[in-house]
Amino acid sequence: MTEKPLNNRAWFFVLPVLGFVLFSSIIPVMTVVNYSVQDTMGANSFFWNGDQWFRDLLNPATTIGARFNDALFRTLAFSLACLAIEIPLGIALALCAPRKGWAVGISLVVIALPMLIPWNVVGTIWQIFTRADIGLFGATLVGTGLRYNVTQEPISAWMTIVVIDVWHWTPLVILLSYAGLRAIPDAYYQAARIDGASRWAVFSKIELPKLQKVLVIAVLLRFMQTFMIYTEPFVVTGGGPGSATTFLSIDLDKIALGQVDLGNAAAMSLVYYLITLTVCWIFFTVMTQLERRRDV
């Protein structure tokens, strides 16, 4: 594949995007940066606090540092668990989905439904659905003899949030992969058929590489969303029992709104933002390199 042509006039194609995004991003970001280096005594009086918030936060020996550390690992584990289930499941189901006829429209609509429900309602559905006395999910699990109790068992609570996320967001991976699969030219499949390629060969040599770009987006989106998960655990478990489901954003919210500790919260959200950024950047760079190597 030849190198892309250099053309700085392409900037004109990008300018509208830049305008729309910059308008909403620059000022709010700067305000948060500003908060993160100050302390507040309320009543809009701020004073300079330098890098103290950051030093406390990154030192596990302090209370806030230990708390941040715990929440961070809890959140990373949660993100990884969700990605490990949703991505393979989403690709598999996209391959199973109907391609022609009346079933296509209905399948797409049904798959899309969970994503269209406001997140607090999603939480509410599951809050009822997982109760042993009035919810099908809870009653079934308890009926099979499991010690399932969202409000008292940390493992139940944690697993429930993962189940909710899988239910809620696997459709995103399915829809992206499905559209990506449909965009593969028929000629590729015909060539594979002539070569007598196995189903697995078609998947690993044609479908997966062609899906790469779409999957990179799916992984990044899912990572960012799971890493920032807030509403579902807030509604279903409230971060408990204990701190089993106190993910970063819930902790952040407790500090920012509960304790009105704006400086700490802003510092925390900046560190949190930088972690998200770094993980995404590494993943994106590695994937782009892989793609380039394959194209050469």
Binding site: N7, V14, V17, S24, L108, P171, L175, Y178, A183, F284
Partner: protein
């Protein structure tokens, strides 16, 4: 590739599992609050449409539904329209700062909304857009425009560059080529992007409620009525939840043929 029987069964089982919580939501919306709390039943004992009528007969709910629909629709159109040429530029050309800019766009999706709500409020208040649908439209562009650029770029990359070259040789001007030849080729991507923009704007609650007060109150804000002092109105919230699924379901129904459209290299 043709589908066999096993994939069909797997898919049907998945759809059934996926539908159970949604069925539970619909069931709850048809029950009274006492019925919901009184025990486990697979079907509502005394089904009633009471809560749906309550929403339908209340101008606040109806107005809020319209408000939500308008800012989501405007936002989706803007996001897809500005993202299309940008996605093309990012995929087809090199230009100064292209890679940095592309990644920077993504970073806008990483902001924890809770912290940014206050600065957003201050910003839109200062420019006089507070409590108008335009505030929400612009605020949602922050994440929907980058999202649209990223998804569309992936689909632009799926179209062989020879197609652009052939069209140029055939004497197509760039705008004609882009609209008549190129856009139909990435119809799958446009369909799925439009749906995702619609969906993410539709379910976003924090910014939408922070940036509005009375005139442009979104549906999600009115929904908080279900959490009152007298206790949680489960069945009202469920009915509202069922109603919120409908517009998005229509959107995906209308773009279904684009998403499922096969890729045929017709002209080459």
């Amino acid at each position: 590739m043709r589908n066999g029987t096993l994939p069909k069964i797997v898919f049907i089982v998945y759809v059934l599992i996926l539908m159970t919580p949604i069925y539970w939501l619909v069931k709850m919306s048809l029950q009274t609050n006492t019925d919901i709390m009184s025990g486990l039943t697979l079907f509502p004992r005394h089904p009633t449409l009471e809560k749906y009528f309550e929403i339908y007969n209340d101008p606040t709910w109806v107005h809020a539904f319209g408000v939500s629909l308008s800012y989501v629709a405007i936002n989706t159109v803007i996001a897809v329209a500005v993202a299309l040429p940008a996605a093309y530029a990012f995929n087809r050309y090199r230009f100064i700062g292209d890679k940095h800019l592309f990644f920077w766009l993504l970073t806008n999706l990483m902001a924890p909304a809770a912290v940014f709500a206050m600065p957003f409020f201050q910003l839109y208040y200062a420019v006089g857009l507070f409590d108008s649908i335009w505030a929400v439209v612009l605020a949602h562009c922050l994440f929907n425009v980058p999202l649209a650029v990223w998804i569309l770029e992936g689909f632009v990359g799926g179209v062989p560059r020879e197609i652009d070259e052939t069209a140029a040789i055939d004497g197509y001007s760039f705008p004609r080529f882009f609209i008549l030849i190129f856009l139909p080729l990435i119809a799958n991507g446009i369909g799925v992007t439009a749906f995702f923009c619609f969906m993410f704007s539709w379910v976003e609650q924090l910014l939408a409620t922070t940036l509005t007060s009375t005139h442009a109150l979104p549906f999600a804000a009115v929904m908080t009525r279900a959490y009152s002092v007298s206790g949680m109105d489960w069945s009202l919230l469920a009915a509202a939840g069922v109603l919120t699924m409908i517009p998005g379901a229509f959107v995906i129904w209308f773009v279904r043929n684009h998403i499922a459209k096969g890729f045929a290299l017709g002209r080459v």
